[in-house]
């Protein structure tokens, strides 16, 4: 949490000696708060004050990193309760549990599926984040073999799950380069687990599902043992307490600056689920409300795609819709006699349309009008996608030089613009396309005529 000038001032020597090149300690403190100058510019600051300042200036929810060079994960460091207050910064990691009781072939297959999974949305490539490998067999050799398979077949992040410190030590040693999450320190084994996490500088999960007070006690013990990168598992595997507990944790961290709970949270939405749909439901709730690491029990593309989309939605900066630059885009390799379409610069709109044109197999020109990141009807209703603006875009980007015909296809939803646009663009023919981009292929093939 950023400190205010007054808060910083409290820690300064208050001698107004000007060695920092500011007239007073207070003036200096104000500049430090505004990040104009660094605190180290005061040569007389005691080591003790410096440490106190650092700890007071720490973010209320720690940023925790794990994963290796091929896939780094950063979770935590959120600053608000609601996305509209600013934004959420670090999307939850979505991982899949792998039990070492499964056969080697099954494990390999699952790792391939999850590791290779990638889906494109609004021009972004969305992927899963990794695996939580569990020592369900309680057999060390078997666990190590499963961990090896996972590490060998995928570059994604890993969490290692075992209650046995000796087994954990061996597994973490194998996975050290991947900076694995150590799961988990409990009331019984925390000291051994803390040693391992410290030895390998890995994040450590503390788990206690018997109430937040006990989780706090455990988190404090582990912190005293020198672990800084903590992840909390309050054991919320049901709708009964998920939002309740996770809200309480986040509020205590953000509003009360309560250190023992100032860490990212890990959840397992599928543990009690009877169907994939139920697992999807709790996962959706936890992505919306305050989980930082979501571990699924199952994987299928049909489950992953909606959850990754939700994560993208919730973690989009509400102040700025994802936008495209205005201009004339080529979809496929259009020729002068290919169709010309117009749409808005909201990236969701652009990618929906571009994707469908591409799928239609009819190369086209796609003109993007600057609508300040609004979709077709939103922009139209806001007066940002009208005949005047469209005509301006046609002229600004010299569209007529690229095509041999003079016809332009409007989105079906703004058919009403046709007449006006024909007036604005004299000599042009204005065509009305289908309402939904997914019908554009049929339209090109059956109806479109320049």
């Amino acid at each position: 949490m950023a400190l205010t000038g007054i808060e910083i001032y409290k820690y300064l020597p208050k001698t107004n000696c000007k060695k920092c090149n500011f007239p007073t300690c207070l003036a200096f403190a104000m500049k430090v708060a505004a990040r104009v100058v660094d605190i180290t510019a005061c040569p007389d600051l005691s080591a003790q004050s410096k440490a106190a300042l650092e700890s007071a200036g720490r973010p209320p929810i720690r940023l925790v990193k794990f994963g290796g060079d091929t896939h780094k994960v950063e979770v935590g460091n959120e600053t608000v309760m609601f996305r509209h207050e600013k934004t959420f910064y670090h999307p939850p990691a979505i991982m899949v549990r792998i039990k070492d009781t499964a056969s080697k072939e099954d494990i390999a297959k699952l790792v391939d599926e999850v590791g290779g999974y990638q889906v494109e949305r609004v021009g972004m490539k969305l992927t899963m984040d990794g695996f939580a490998v569990e020592n369900a067999s309680k057999d060390q050799a078997r666990f190590l073999e499963a961990v090896e398979t996972v590490l060998a077949k995928s570059g994604l992040a890993v969490a290692l799950m075992s209650d046995n410190p000796a087994t954990m030590d061996a597994a973490v040693a194998k996975a050290a380069a991947r900076k694995p999450v150590v799961y988990a320190a409990t009331k019984e084994n925390w000291s051994g687990m803390a040693d391992i996490a410290k030895k390998h500088s890995c994040p450590l999960v503390v788990r206690d599902s018997s109430g937040l007070e006990n989780l706090v006690a455990l988190s404090e013990k582990v912190a005293q043992a020198g672990i800084e990168d903590i992840i909390l598992d309050p054991g919320v595997d049901s709708f009964k307490s998920s939002i309740d507990s996770l809200t309480e944790i986040r509020r205590l961290a953000l509003k009360k600056n309560f250190r023992p709970l100032g860490f990212p949270v890990m959840t397992f939405p599928g543990v009690q689920a009877k169907t994939t749909e139920e697992e999807a439901a709790l996962a959706a709730e936890q992505i919306s409300k305050y989980s930082s690491v979501v571990v699924l029990e199952h994987f299928s593309p049909a489950l992953a795609y909606p959850l990754l989309t939700l994560r993208l939605n919730i973690y989009t900066d509400p102040q700025k819709p994802i936008q495209m630059a205005a201009g004339i885009y080529e979809v496929g390799a259009p020729k002068p006699d290919s169709p010309l379409c117009i749409t808005t610069n909201f990236s969701l709109t652009y990618f929906s349309v571009a994707g469908e044109i591409e799928a239609s197999g009819v190369p086209s020109w796609l003109l993007i009008c600057d609508t300040e990141g609004l979709s077709v009807l939103t922009a139209w209703a806001a007066g940002k996608f009208d005949a005047e603006r469209i005509a301006k875009a046609v002229k600004q980007f010299n569209v007529a030089d690229k095509i041999s015909h003079k016809s332009i296809v409007l989105p079906g939803k703004v058919a009403v613009l046709r007449g006006e646009l024909e007036e604005e663009l004299s000599g042009w023919k204005v065509l009305v396309g289908p309402m939904e981009a997914m019908d554009v292929g049929g339209y090109f093939k059956k109806t479109w005529k320049p």
């Binding site: 609601f82 996305r83 509209h84 999974y117 990638q118 889906v119 494109e120 949305r121 937040l212 007070e213 706090v216 006690a217 404090e220 709708f239 009964k240 307490s241 998920s242 939002i243 309740d244 809200t247 309480e248 509020r251 205590l252 509003k255 009360k256 009877k274 169907t275 994939t276 749909e277 139920e278 999807a280 439901a281 709790l282 959706a284 709730e285 992505i287 919306s288 409300k289 299928s300 593309p301 049909a302 489950l303 992953a304 795609y305 909606p306 959850l307 989309t309 939700l310 993208l312 939605n313 919730i314 989009t316 509400p318 969701l348 929906s352 799928a359 979709s375 209703a381 939904e436 997914m438």
Partner: protein, 313 residues
Amino acid sequence: MAPLEAPVEKWTGKIRELKLGSGGRKTITVGGGTTLPFVKFEGAQPHRPAIAIEVQDKEPTDWSEFLVSAWGDALKNPGAWAKKAAEFGADLLYIRLASAHPEASNTGAAQAKKSASEVLSAVDLPVIFVGPDVAEKDNEVLVAVSDVAKGQRVGLGNCVEKNYKTIAATCMADGHVAIAKTPIEINLAKQLNILLSDVGLSPDSILMDPTTGALGYGLEYTYSVMERLRLAALMGDGMTSMPMICTAGEESWRQKESKATLDVPQAWGDNQERSLIWENVTAISLLAAGADILVLRHPKTVVTVKAALDKSF
């Protein structure tokens, strides 16, 4: 260690309670919360959110095959459809008088009365009726329905900024609830509630529809506007404290992710599984944002969301 002090906020407002159903019809009450959705350590949510199933008065022509196969022949008849929706576990019904749309069959008051009577006699659940969302038509069919449903406290919608007076007057005359729909904007939502109150409709007879964006299609906007409306209400603004209804089913089943079955990217996975999860995820995340009534389409989503609610309460 010392017991943790729960980080409660001192809210001064609460969500209004809204009752639907009367005159022999089953009733349901939603709203009444004194805290954010599902936050139990701080206050109460005395009524659990309700699940409405959407029914139309004409067979839909553009529905996904997965919806069509789940409902079968019931889609051909609003009474049968309503009955089946009740069997599938709806707490209430959301009847879209789609046939009145000028581009559909352009039916009018007479057909609306007929459809409404069929539904009302087929089930004893509370009911919401919405027109085709075309101003003059909405007025025509909703006034007709209001008469048929007199004294049964049904919901009538959608009232929008440009077209709310007739519907509001009808609600007042016949004891119904108005659905106030605004395009994802907190000030517009509040404004419409004020306009409706100004013409004499009780604030306890208003249900807000903040406009739903489906998962991947504006969900985040709806989500944040709902959270802001909730917070404003809890902070004491009585003109944002009406319960909220979200048309999660309609919006998610309109999207390509739910409809497409041909040439679907492999990464989208199984078509049916994905389309179900699409509706489910849309619904659950809007519940977290404060939905009091969710309007759904697929019976399986109803089962999943109800299971989630059973566990939450």
